[in-house]
Symmetry: C2
Subunit: 188 residues, 2 copies
C-alpha cells in the first residue's frame, strides 16, 4: 500500500456519493465511480467490497468509538450518562464529514434496501452498547433500555444535525436531545 | 367465504409455526403446511400471500390497535403516557396467543432475513406512532422521541413477556418497563 492510498479511498468515496446523488444509487456502476475518481476498478475493489460498502464502512468506526467510550466512562457514571457522553463525542468521527454525511443520508433515504441496511446497523449498535453496559455490571432491562433510548436519540440527533441550516454543533444537538428525552419520559 | 374460514386460518398458522420450529423456516414448504393443517395449498393462499406472511400478518393488527389507542388518548395525556397506555392495552390483541407468540419469536430469532423484517416492522410502527402524536399537536423532536422510546419499551417488554416462566401479565411488564425507562433516562 503506497502513501497515496488514503487519498484514493477518499476520492472514491466522494466520487461515489456524487454519482449516487446525481444519477441514483441503483444506476451507478463501480466502473463509473472509478472513472470519476480518476482511478481503476481494481483500486476501487482494494478499498471497498462493493458499491454499498462505500455507504456503510463508517458504521464500524462509529460502533468502535461508541463501545470504547462507554467502556471508558467513569465507574460512577449512570448508564444513560455513559451512553450520552459516548454519543456526544462521536463528533470527532464526523469531523470534516458533514457534506459526506448529508449526501449519504439523501442516498439512503431514497432506497428501501439501504434504509433496511441502516436499521440493521443501528440495531446491532444498540446490541453492542447494551452488551458493553452489561460488562460494566448494569443489569437488564436497564442495560437494554439505556442502549435503545441512546440509539433513538442518536438517530434523531443525527437527522437534526444534517438537516440543520449551516453546520450545527453535533455534540450540542445530542445534549439537547438527551434533555428532551428526559423531559419526554418524565411525562412532562 | 364459508363459516369455516377463520378456523382454517388459525389451523394454517398453527401448522406453519409448528413446522417452522420443528424443521426450520427455510426448509418448510407451503405444501407441507397445508398438509399438516389438513387443507389444500389453494386454501393456504386464500389466507396468506406466502409462508413469511404467516409470521407478519399480526403486525398490521398491532399497528392499527396502537395508532387508534394513541389517537383516542385524552387530550390532557402527556405523549409518553398516551404511548404507554396504548402499549399496555395491546394485551387484548395478544389474548390467547401466548404460545403462538413464543413460537413465532423462536423462528424469527433463528433467521437473519426474518429478524430484518421484524426491525422494519418496528421502525414503521415507530414512524406511525410519531405521526399520530404530531396529529395531536405534539411537536418534534418530542413526538419522535416518545415514539422511539415507546417502541424500545415495547420490544424489551415483549421479550420479557415471552421468555418469562408461566404466562406473565403483559400489561404489568409494560408498566414496569416504562417505570424503568423513566428511572434510566433520569440517570438513576
Amino acid at each position: 500500500m503506497g502513501r497515496w492510498e488514503p487519498n484514493a479511498r477518499g476520492r472514491l468515496e466522494q466520487a461515489a456519493l456524487e454519482l449516487y446523488v446525481e444519477r441514483g444509487y441503483e444506476q451507478t456502476t463501480v466502473a463509473e465511480i472509478a472513472k470519476r475518481a480518476g482511478l481503476t476498478e481494481r483500486t476501487f475493489f482494494r478499498h471497498f467490497a462493493d458499491k454499498r460498502e462505500v455507504l456503510f464502512w463508517g458504521s464500524g468506526t462509529v460502533r468502535d468509538h461508541l463501545v470504547n467510550a462507554v467502556a471508558a466512562a467513569p465507574d460512577s457514571a449512570a448508564p444513560i450518562d455513559a451512553i450520552a457522553g459516548a454519543i456526544e463525542s462521536v463528533d470527532v468521527v464526523f469531523q470534516e464529514r458533514y457534506e459526506s454525511a448529508r449526501r449519504r443520508q439523501t442516498v439512503i433515504a431514497a432506497n428501501a434496501e439501504l434504509r433496511e441496511r441502516e436499521l440493521i446497523k443501528l440495531a446491532s449498535l444498540s446490541a453492542a452498547l447494551a452488551d458493553t453496559l452489561r460488562k460494566r455490571g448494569v443489569p437488564d432491562p436497564a442495560a437494554s433500555l439505556a442502549a435503545e433510548a441512546g440509539i433513538a436519540v442518536f438517530k434523531i440527533a443525527f437527522e437534526r444535525w444534517i438537516s440543520g441550516p449551516g453546520e450545527p454543533d453535533f455534540s450540542q444537538i445530542v445534549r439537547e436531545s438527551f434533555d428532551e428525552l428526559k423531559a419526554v419520559t418524565a411525562g412532562g
